[in-house]
Amino acid sequence: MHYPWWNVPFLTSPMLIAIIAVLHVVVSHYAVGGGLFLAVETRHAYRTGNDAYLGYLRKHAWFFILITVVYGAITGVGIWWTIGLASPLATETLIHAFVFGWAIEYVFFIIEIVSAFIFFYGWGRLPARTHQAMAWIYAGAAWISLVLITGITAFMLHPGKWPETRSFWDGFLNPQFIPQVLSRTGGSFLLASLYVYLHAAFRADPGLRDLIAARSARPALLGAILIVAGGAGWYAFLPESAKAALAAASALNVLMVLIFAITLAVFVMLYLGPYRHPGWLSPGFAILLFVCGFAAMATGEFIREAVRKPFVVYNVVLANQVLPEEVPRLRERGFLEGGVWTRAYVATHHPEAMAGDTIDVAKLLALPEEERIALGRVLFQHHCNDCHAEEKGYSAAAELVRGWGREPIRSTIERLHEAQFFMPPWCGTREEAELLTDYLASIAPPLPGGMDLGAGR
């Protein structure tokens, strides 16, 4: 509303955030847990004088750099890139609230990168003690990065006292902070072991594989326990609306069951496999573990995003890029009038509807039907397209109103948050609800044919 809305056909632009975020988290957790793995295992290899293991760890460090320093770093920036495009008001708010949190995080990123490169390129050149120190510096910096970014992402789900105090620390140390740090730390341990298994299954000598399988099983099992503990805390400190969304949305019900089932399956496979029978670690087994871990992480991220609705930042920014405090004014004066770009659009395309500098919404209803539908589409783009594609695609609005007449559409628009509590309230006037109704009615397909519902008998 304050900014132009990016139209991404079929998918909707916020879905790009979800895609990039999922692609990033499966690597960013490895960037943290893998760092700890390299620090602990390099120390072990030096202490035991196991040159073969050191050789393997060097190969793994190269794999680690290629995955985390390149792909992980770029997709991390990619999330930031994408949220600015697809959710600019929320990004503006987060950056104003936490710019120094991010700035501190980037200090640690620089330490991570320098230590990771020195750890790898200094292999065989640095004294053993210094070499290990580089690994530990990396591991510490990476975990602190996790803590810092978790404070900000947890804030999006529950900002604590921040809406009243606007204090950095109230926002950062929010009720979701500790549970999410726990579960993300656990996720890092678990995922790192799964990456290690995947790499070792293909690149380690058979003699080493057993050692790697056994040594990485404990952190993986500990990680799974931390995920469950953090997940329980996450649920306990969810806002009421998020708990209600979990209970109400059938898709989320299925995903919740899925995530527990997959985590349990991974736990059992880890226990029976690498922990009890290290010899089981074959390429197929490692791939299966990795795919399950990936699925659990992706599901977890999707749920984390979905339960925030109708907010992008709980009680701070609504999903349709409106601040809650703006809603009464928009309902009184109009959504088109309140939006910077929508107002400019109306002033340019419908000067006859302007009364001086402001939009006279009553005049918009007097426009020809075609133009009313076009304006309804403008409203749809800026009010609804965050979560709904138009006629086809992600949660397409046309499919949601299939077979509806004008009246149910209009009354649903006017009572959006009552009809579905995880949708934002209608942020426009009654006249604008009529315009949006015109548009939705124009794209609503008829009821599917061939259904015998008994009504006509």
Partner: protein, 378 residues
């Protein structure tokens, strides 16, 4: 339509620190970013060309430059985030609309950067391990990466020039939107400042590459030979001369061919004239120092060249910031936003920043104190 109508309102949260501090951090971060950015933007294609030279010493220069790329790119990406962070705090009212208008291009940078970065690794691995498979593919990967980095440079210049070219927004919006929602396919190629600005960036990148070659030859090449020093001096001089010429031509075009009367009077009059003049003339200093080393690298002069190039980048970054503010002034005043200083997070950041630098310095010292690896051949 009045383009000023498209400017978003101020953030109700206000600036988290005084504007002066944020702009200092933004410019500081940008200077840090420009060093590695120049090296991958101009240095990568130059490295690839040098590796095809007949002279073995020149090939070695190309090899060393290409080998450094993975580390330089990693540092450059992270240094680039700092200015973008403070840009989004202080300039969000112009930055978001501009990037949303060209969203697919802006978003595409992430994809292109990923491919380019892996291309660099593919190429660099071929240098480290000449016995590795597919030498032609690795060579091609280097060139593809160089082209993609050039494309990224173009897209960045495009977006950041569109950010201040507010008067172009209404037309671009009208031509590339559906139901008032941008499709994200706009491009700022009609902006007369775009090409000379890109030219200035190329000129600066070439000068940075030349300075890097001299410093590397003077302090890091092992064994340091007289022939290697001569090759470095000769090569750096050629690159710097081209860079200086491009910078001078593009800068002249930019100032006298594209600046509006108001920006010209702003930058060429009063207290800002010395800054503008220093920015324009400063590029001559590293060129002169490189000229003095064309027959062979001298460590003291090489260090001075690096310092001079840092000064050039600093002056350009400061001038660019002053121009950016002046270009946006008809639409909003970035210096006049309300401030709600976040004292303790700011202090914590500054403390950790200094501590972080100390840790990095300690780590780098450990590497420098360690025995050098074998000199790599071309």
């Amino acid at each position: 339509m009045d383009p000023a109508d498209l400017i978003a309102p101020s953030s109700p949260l206000g600036y988290p620190a005084p504007y002066a501090l944020m702009v200092v951090l933004k410019v500081f971060g940008f200077i840090l970013h420009m060093i590695p950015m120049g090296l991958w933007f101009a240095g990568l294609p130059i490295a690839l060309l040098l590796r095809r030279a007949r002279d073995e010493e020149v090939r070695t220069i190309g090899t060393r430059l290409a080998s450094a790329m993975p580390v330089l790119i990693a540092l450059g990406i992270n240094f680039g985030i700092v200015p973008l962070l403070f840009l989004q705090v202080a300039y969000h009212r112009a930055f978001y609309p501009a990037t949303i208008l060209m969203a697919w291009h802006w978003f595409g940078i992430i994809v292109v950067l990923t491919v380019a970065y892996y291309g660099v690794y593919l190429h660099a691995v071929g240098i480290r391990r000449p016995e590795a498979c597919c030498p032609r593919l690795r060579q091609a990967a280097g060139w593809i990466a160089a082209v993609l980095f050039a494309a990224i440079g173009f897209l960045f210049t495009n977006a950041l020039s569109l950010m201040t070219n507010v008067r172009a927004w209404p037309d671009l919006w009208a031509r590339t939107s559906v139901a008032a929602a941008p499709l994200g396919t706009a491009s700022n190629v009609a902006d007369p400042t775009l090409w000379p600005r890109l030219g200035v960036v190329i000129g600066l990148a070439l000068l940075t590459t030349a300075a890097f070659i001299l410093i590397d030859a003077a302090y890091f090449a092992r064994p340091a030979t007289a022939a290697g020093g001569r090759a470095a001096g000769r090569t750096a001089f050629t690159i710097a001369t081209v860079g200086f010429a491009v910078f001078a031509a593009a800068g002249t075009w930019y100032v006298f061919g594209t600046w509006s009367a108001s920006i010209r009077s702003h930058m060429l009059g009063g207290a800002r004239l010395p800054l503008t003049a220093a920015t324009a003339l400063s590029a001559g200093l590293p060129w002169l120092l490189i000229f003095l080393q064309r027959a062979g690298v001298r460590p003291g002069l090489a260090a001075a060249t690096g310092a001079a190039q840092l000064l050039v980048l600093t002056l350009n970054a400061i001038s660019r910031q002053v121009v950016q503010n002046a270009e946006l002034l008809p639409y909003f005043d970035v210096t006049a936003e309300p401030v709600r200083t976040q004292g303790s997070p700011l202090i914590l950041f500054l403390i950790l920043f200094v501590a972080g630098l100390a840790v990095v310095a300690w780590m780098v010292r450990q590497v420098l104190a360690a025995p050098s690896p074998q000199r790599q051949g071309g």
